[in-house]
Symmetry: C2
Subunit: 172 residues, 2 copies
C-alpha cells in the first residue's frame, strides 16, 4: 500500500464539508431555540473587517473545489455567491462535496509533480501539486472552515471540536 | 517522484508553527503600540468555555508533536503547560518545530499503514497512519492554529490570512 495524493485530498475535504453542514443544522436549531433570526448568524463575524459566516462557507467551498479540480486537472465549477439562508449554504456544501466526489481518483495520479499556477496578489505563483496541496490548498481550506466554526462558537451555538472533526475515519 | 507521508506532514506543520511564531511577534508589537498588557491577549478567548490563546498554542504544538511522533513511531516529548508570556509561547513553537524537524524522513516510510491507537473519550480508537493524518491529526492541528489566529484577529491585532499561511512553499 502507498499514500496517494487523492487520499490526502478528497476524503478529508469531504469530511469537513460534511461537518460544516452538520454545524449549520446545529446553528439553525439554536436560532429556533434562542429565537435568533438566522440572518444574524449568517452575517455574524469575529471582527468588522473579517468575512461573515456565509462568506466563510463560500470561500471554504471555493477552496475545496479549486484544490481538487486543480490537482485533478479538471475544470473548476463556478458557483455564484448568492446564498443567504442556512439551507442554501448547506446546498452549496453538498454540491461541492458531490463535485469533488465525482472526480475519478485516477485523475490525481502524478498530481504531486503537476505544475499549478495561481494568480495571487496580481502575480503568477507557481507550485508543484504536492506543495500546492500541503502548503496552500489545505491550510486555506481548514482556515475558513475553522473560522466558520469559531464564528458559530463565538455566537454562542452549543458545539464542540468533535462537531468540527465530523466523521473521523476510524478503523475497527 | 511520488508523494510521501513525510511530505504531507512535517513541512506543512513546520510552516504553520513558524507562522504562529510570527503572529505572536505581531501581537506583541500591537500590545506595545496600543498599550495593552500582553497577559490580556494571552488569556483572550472567543467564548467563555473555549481555550484561551496560550492554551490554543499549547494544544496546537501538542497536536504537531503527537502527529509526527506517532507516524514516525518515536516517543512523544512531553512539554509542561507552563507558558505565560509571548516569548515562552514562541519558545514552545520553536522547540516543537525543532523536534519534528529532527525526525529522519525515513522514519515515516510505511507509516500510511501503521496502526495508530488513541484514547479518545475514554476508549481506544484505531486508525491507519494515513487516516490518522488526514482525518484527525491535521484537522486538529489546523483547528487550534486557526483558532489562535482568530483570537488575535478578534482582539484587534492587525493581521491577515497571509500571516496565517506564512512561508508558502512556492516554486520558481
Amino acid at each position: 500500500m502507498s499514500f496517494s495524493l487523492y487520499q490526502a485530498t478528497v476524503p478529508p475535504v469531504q469530511q469537513i464539508l460534511g461537518s460544516l453542514s452538520a454545524l449549520i443544522d446545529k446553528a439553525a436549531a439554536d436560532c429556533e431555540a434562542r429565537k435568533i433570526d438566522p440572518a444574524t448568524i449568517i452575517g455574524y463575524r469575529l471582527a468588522p473587517d473579517m468575512f461573515a459566516f456565509a462568506r466563510q462557507i463560500q470561500v471554504a467551498t471555493d477552496n475545496a473545489k479549486g484544490l481538487c479540480a486543480r490537482l485533478a486537472d479538471v475544470e473548476i465549477p463556478s458557483y455564484p455567491d448568492v446564498e443567504t439562508t442556512f439551507d442554501e449554504l448547506k446546498a452549496r456544501l453538498a454540491k461541492t462535496s458531490d463535485f469533488i466526489g465525482s472526480i475519478p481518483a485516477a485523475r490525481f495520479d502524478g498530481a504531486e509533480t503537476r505544475k499549478i499556477t495561481l494568480k495571487l496578489g496580481g502575480r503568477d505563483v507557481h507550485f508543484t501539486g504536492a506543495n500546492y496541496l500541503t502548503g496552500f490548498g489545505l491550510p486555506n481550506f481548514y482556515f475558513h472552515a475553522t473560522t466558520a466554526y469559531d464564528i458559530l462558537r463565538h455566537a454562542g451555538v452549543a458545539i464542540g471540536k468533535r462537531d468540527f472533526l465530523g466523521a473521523v475515519p476510524v478503523n475497527a
